[in-house]
């Protein structure tokens, strides 16, 4: 280790010298707990400088401290992790905005990082930047194959690990975690949606590019190849969403996320349902009878409800988040949230 080879005066991170042995470098990063277990791109000074060319921000600008470890999220540190994740420089403004959104107190990043619950911050991208960065919002949107989705999501996780200290079993106490903790970034398929996209619903113009961060579980599929009207499909959704063990229904808080496939969305819309109608329907129908809960849950969580009550997924229908994403096929997804978190939408700036 040493400071030799330090050419850039604006980068202050410690320099570590290696031979050009990729395996040795990766082993060093892995043994220090600086990777997600997959090989990393070595964050050389030249690569970090190139990554910083994607933003106008000063490398020493800080977005704040990342809990629970409390490391300082400077633009330089973010760039280093973006290099390690395999990002392109043009992804930097989006990544910076996502970190800013996660540091908003409403998001409750401290608990999301430390909890036993299998929550991960999901990045939902809206607006023209989806096409500019080739962020997938169509077929296999949560799957492999898109560099932007994969590496942006991975950069977020590496930042939460290396700046936020979210080391599994130490400060990240997730009982199981979930695959989205490697990478969790999608676009909304605005072009195939019959409704206003998420960012427009939240007051941004359609031409704005935004990210929304929400703390959610992994996606659960909702298959309905039979129903030929909106009520039928939404009945399938309601039955799938009304489960006893998710944090939203237990805590009566948070924003469960519904990701409707374009074909389902088209059928639902043709039946006359607006997005708010969808939320209204699901709030009324996605319920669990109090008596279906365990005795302890009935006593501890739902004592204020009468025994013949049906418990809604969330107290307020507007808290059910609805977006359209994915490709062809009659499938949609349900992602319960952590509960003690509120999603945050921000417009992406340089």
């Amino acid at each position: 280790m040493g400071k030799e080879g330090c050419n850039s005066l604006r980068l202050i991170s410690e320099r570590i010298e290696f031979n050009d042995n990729l395996e040795e470098i990766n082993e060093f990063f892995y043994r220090n707990g600086w990777s997600d277990g997959l090989p990393i791109i070595v964050p050389t000074e030249e690569r970090v400088e190139r990554m910083l060319s994607g933003t106008r921000r000063d490398p020493q600008d800080s977005l704040g401290t990342v809990p629970p470890g409390g490391g300082e999220a400077t633009i330089e540190k973010i760039a280093i992790n973006a290099v390690m994740a395999g990002c392109l420089p043009e992804y930097m403004p989006l990544i910076i905005t996502a970190i800013e959104a996660m540091l908003d107190e409403r998001f409750n990043l401290h608990w999301i990082q430390a909890t036993t619950h299998p929550v991960a911050p999901l990045i939902i991208v809206n607006g023209p930047i989806r096409n500019e960065l080739q962020i997938n919002s169509g077929h296999n949107v949560f799957g492999q194959g898109s560099r932007a989705n994969a590496t942006i999501g991975r950069a977020i996780r590496l930042i939460l690990l290396n700046i936020g200290g979210g080391v599994p079993g130490k400060l990240d106490m997730a009982t199981h975690g979930q695959p989205g903790k490697y990478s969790f970034c999608i676009g909304e398929n605005e072009e195939s949606s019959p409704w206003e996209p998420l960012h427009v619903e939240r007051g941004f113009s359609k031409s704005s590019s935004t990210i929304t961060v929400c703390g959610v579980e992994g996606p659960h599929n909702m298959n309905d190849h039979c129903s030929d009207d909106g009520e039928g499909i939404l009945t399938t959704f309601a039955g799938t969403m009304a489960t006893q063990g998710n944090n939203n229904i237990i805590s009566q808080r948070g924003e469960p996320l519904l990701i409707i496939g374009p074909e389902h969305a088209g059928i639902i819309s043709k039946s006359g349902f607006s997005k708010s109608d969808v939320k209204h329907f699901l709030h009324a129908k996605a319920r669990v009878q109090k008596r279906q809960f365990s005795k302890r849950h009935q006593e501890d969580q739902f004592s204020q409800y009468s025994d013949d009550s049906s418990i809604p997924l969330t107290p307020r229908e507007e808290d059910i988040m609805v977006i359209v994403s994915g490709g062809s096929g009659k499938h949609s997804l349900f992602l319960p949230s952590f509960g003690l978190t509120t999603s945050v939408t921000k417009d992406i700036k340089d």
Partner: protein, 63 residues
């Protein structure tokens, strides 16, 4: 005086959190994990353990 109680599994998380929030010397008592979902009698045993530790700390601080 503030004394924080956690379960054994979460001790390292609490210590790191306290440090990052500017309370590196936070007084912490650890009780056997878990406390969620256990019966009243079991939680009372753990509360007794914690109470004994609290008394020791108060006694020590008073000297």
């Amino acid at each position: 005086m503030t004394i924080t109680i956690c379960t054994s599994q979460f001790l390292s998380l609490l210590q790191a959190t306290a440090g990052s929030k500017g309370y590196p010397n936070l007084l912490i008592i650890s009780v056997p994990h878990p406390i969620a979902g256990i019966k009243r009698g079991e939680i009372e045993i753990k509360a007794d353990i914690a109470f004994g530790e609290i008394l020791k700390i108060i006694e020590f601080q008073g000297k």
